[in-house]
Amino acid sequence: MRDVATLAGVSLKTVSRVVNLEPHTRPEVVARVRAAIAELEWSPNASARTLRTGRTGLVGIGVAELRRPYLATLVEAIVAEADRRGIPVAVEPTHGDPDRARSLLAARGRVFDGVVHIGPIAPGVATDGGLADRPVVVVQGGRPVEELDRVDEDVVDAVVLVARHLAVMGRTRPVLLGHDRAWRRDDESGHPSAAMRAALSTARIDTDGVACVEIPGVADRRAGARAAAEALVRNPALDALLCVNDEVALGALATLAAEGVEVPGRVAVIGYDNLDDGRFATPTLTTVDPGPRRLARAALELLADRLAGTAQPEPRAVTTGVVLVRRESTLGEGQR
């Protein structure tokens, strides 16, 4: 460390501040210290550092799994944003297991300085210190179960955009595959969600007949293929499928193609997540883009403020914008 300080022409204290990501160091000094560290291939002994400072310099990202392509996209966006800020991250898949989520959050202060948790935190998982010394930021967690900083996209705007698009296109008999994204697990009123019902009513679509084919397990392509088949049997007159995510919508497209149902001639299909796949599907998929980069940027900003001790004591909630991406599965061919 002394060598690093000498080469960079700064004090030991300054090297320590840069290594521990403390604020109030001029960017050119940070750059000089980093260059010296790289040149000398010096590696701060993080175990010793943790004992001394109580900081590990590492942020944990909790995510159900990486095999869901949207989650991989969001994790990638968070990792890229953390890289940009010079914050090393480790990704921990929780597989929806409360015990795994518990051990991830309990690792704050020992392994991680803080945690970005993607999706709702299971009830009963302790998040103490989540606003103070061991921050937790929840991304796309829906309604908060604890007092924590959180970032969500504007799901109400999303259902408004979808309902209006349906109405403009003259679709009046939609069926939901999986819940709509404004719906929450603690929503007593069932499907569709109150926000979706309001949006459909505003768009003059009768909400009484809107059925929902529930998807009990993982909402992947296979589940979407199965749910679409069920929807066709239960509601042969349906003219639109509103899917909980793009994977389900892509599975539904496979079923509709196999059954010879024209898309969008007879049935329009709308997904959610704006996966890259949807641009290349046959037909290309209309979807809602929740903006993973915007979510990632907001989450890291909240976390960095907490780690730096510059955030207000109250929990903060950031809502980011969404975009309806209109493609062939509602517009028909010839549209790109």
Binding site: I37, A38, E41, W42, S43, P44, A46, S47, A48, T50, L51, T56, G57, L58, E65, L66, R67, P69, A72, T73, V75, E76, V79, A80, D83, P88, V89, A90, V91, E92, P93, A106, R110, V111, G129, D220, R221, R222, G224, A225, L250, G251, L253, A254, A257, D276, D277, R279, F280, A281, T282, T284
Partner: protein, 335 residues
Amino acid sequence: MSRRPTLADVGAVAGVSAKTASNVLLGRPEVSPATRAAVLAAVDEVGYHVNLAGRGLASGRTGRVAVVVPNLYQPYFAELAERLMLALEEHGLTTMLRVAHDECAEIDAALGPTTQDVDGVIVCPHHFTAEHLAGGEPRRPLVQLGGGPNDAVDCVVMGEATGSEAMTRHLLETGRRRIALVWNNPPGTAPWGDRFEGYLAALTAHGVPRDDALVVSGSDWDRRASGYEAMVGLLRSGTAFDAALCVNDAIAIGVMRALRSHGRRVPQDVAVAGFDDTDEAEFTTPALSSVSPEQPEMVRAAVRMLLERIDGHAGPPRRVRTGAHLVLRASTAVA
């Protein structure tokens, strides 16, 4: 917040010294079963957690492994990363996932000082080769998973030649003769490597001449758009073809879309095949034929070699070749 319980607290409750409590938690043999039980009960009672930082200082181990992938947007890498994490976890190891978007970042994550506090590294490379080590050794145990064979480190070599030879043979046996390659060599360079050799071997066996006008590639080889782009180039060249063998599924999906946009039917006019058998292949329209590289086997081999290195195995670099098999779907059905 109240004071965190220490080993001394555990010892006091169990009626032993802190040193004995430590011996139990480190799994040292010189402790009687009764003492062990008393200490473990005391750990629960006082709510003691092992201080990993302290343990790291004492044993030199962190219990963490770095996994380096070039990106997560190509489903192959997301699936592989997930499988590695689960396999490492079975051995009580946690994973630090590094996403390295370019050559510099990849080499730095695999070899450099920014990947800290890990016992070893598994790198799924885009760029890493023996040359990056310049005759030296990695600073910590390192295993390469997939990518080109590397003589300098332990590596798991995917069944690339086997897989592409089998798929090429399948295309030939179903009547295709002009098999385009939508590949990963940078534009303007000649294709090379095991997958290409497998393709050539199958052509030779069927007496079909090689035609380099059939080899195209996009700006990169991770994105569906690059497959689309490369196929547009091939269509514009006027070269006749009746099949497209793609370097991976993401590229194949872009290729299928480009063919459809240009009025070519799959599989009637052109058969399309991918590589990797990712989750999406089964649900494309038409469903995509692909080569399964048997990821579970690849992951098992990589984790096993890394654990052996972490435990001090010092032999020369090893190479494990894994298998591959065809998963045939509608995109290569007989025209």
